[in-house]
């Protein structure tokens, strides 16, 4: 574990528990945290830890709360998203906004392997660090960055596996209207599906395969990003937040994808 380099670093715990005394103290620590990767990652870990403390004191909310909250929601205007954040989010779960950025299984695996190697190297490096204290900060930054990437890749893989091995997992394979097959493994309990495709015909120039969740009447049609294919096959793609009545579909769209489907899907499979 990182030895605190100065007094401010020791405040990670106090800060994570919202236990600093004044707004000025909070600002001072946040300025420090912006320059201190170790602090940032430690605070994140502490916050996740605090979440477990919160879950441990779960109580049934008062009966009227749900209705009161839902009644108010209609009148509350939502803040728009931050573009940069959306881009990062898209990197985790591929979406339309990042055309073709679908993170396939192969990419996730190779990322994980690279990062495992990185971590091994860091292990060796750390033995030498007694003499080279100034390298420590740098190395820690790399390590926590590597850890975050690794966790993201692992989370993606674990999520895919957990859908595939869910107790209620069911598998449906359908031929598409233009050839090839699409397989959906769905878990109603997890509200997730994993999609794979094989034998799809080669795309004409300027065309992409786009994924959709088509809601039951009253719900929306939601783009779930583009399908990256290699010789007509795709790696597993995880789609989260499936609602009851959703149908999964694929359409051929112009490069970059569209906001709503413009043509009839080549395949439609019940997703819930």
């Amino acid at each position: 574990m990182a030895r605190p380099r100065n007094d401010l670093h020791i405040l990670t715990g106090v800060y994570a528990l919202d236990a600093l005394d004044t707004a000025a103290e909070v600002r001072r620590f946040e300025r420090h945290m912006n320059r201190c990767e170790g602090c940032t990652s430690e605070v994140r870990g502490f916050r996740e830890t605090a979440t477990r403390l919160a879950i441990a004191v779960t109580r049934q909310p008062p009966p009227g709360l749900r209705a009161a909250v839902m009644a108010e929601v209609a009148g509350i205007r939502q803040v728009p998203g931050d573009r940069a954040r959306r881009a990062r989010r898209a990197a985790l779960l591929p979406r339309l906004a990042t055309a073709g950025a679908a993170l396939g299984l192969a990419a996730a695996v190779s990322l994980a392997v690279v990062l495992v190697n990185t971590q091994n190297q860091l292990g060796q490096t750390q033995q030498q660090l007694g003499q080279a204290q100034h390298q420590l900060g740098q190395t820690q930054q790399q390590l926590s960055q590597a850890k975050r990437h690794l966790i993201a890749a692992q989370t993606q893989l674990a999520a895919i596996n957990s859908v595939r091995t869910a107790a209620d997992a069911t598998l449906v394979t359908r031929a598409t209207s233009i050839g090839g097959r699409v397989t959906v493994v769905k878990s109603a309990a997890k509200h997730q599906i994993v999609v794979t495709a094989s034998g799809l015909p080669p795309l004409r120039a300027g065309k992409v395969y786009q994924l959709w969740l088509i809601g039951a009447p009253g719900n929306r049609i939601r783009s779930e990003g583009l399908l990256a294919t290699h010789h007509g096959s795709s790696g597993p793609v995880l789609i989260s937040g499936v609602l009851r009545g959703d149908t999964f579909g694929i359409t051929l769209e112009p490069r970059g994808g569209t906001v709503q489907p413009t043509v009839t899907p080549i395949v439609g499979i019940p997703a819930s």
Binding site: L11, T58, V163, S240
Partner: protein, 194 residues
Amino acid sequence: MRASEPELPRQQGGEDQYLDGLLSRVARGEKAAFEAVYDSLAGPVYGLILRVVRDPAQSEEVSQEVLLEVWRTAARFDPARGTAATWVLTIAHRRAVDRVRSAAAAAAREQRNAEIPVPHDDVAATVEASLDAERVRQCLESLTEAQRESITLAYYGGYSYRQVGERLGTALSTIKTRIRDGLIRMRDCLGVSW
């Protein structure tokens, strides 16, 4: 590595992903997704706020503010920086602390504290929650008494570290270190992987 570990972390990952996905739908204005977020997190939100604020009527009020804040600002949630549950419960804890830190509220609460014992969390709402509670209790027990006391007063009590120091008659620098060391131990005991 973690991916090959038994059941628990995998399910955790799935649950986290599920909530992450839901929040991005909430950000796009989908009410059905918000209802699902409510059903997953209203219990922990209310339980935490009640633990800090103590008064059920005020706790309900703060819970409502927090849940509406989640709806309003869902677009600010960034899954690269933490789980959805943590994003929501961080908002909840801050709001609860704001409520009890104002001078008048603090005085009133001191009064109540003198009369009423700290509510116990033995009435966990679900079996899952009681399993979580058991794990947390075990990990809290693995701390030194001084660490446990400081963390409990700060997080569940909503006290600032200065107030914690005053209550325990302990130097501030000691409190800072205790809370940090205790959280490190707690984090490792619970297997938190951020």
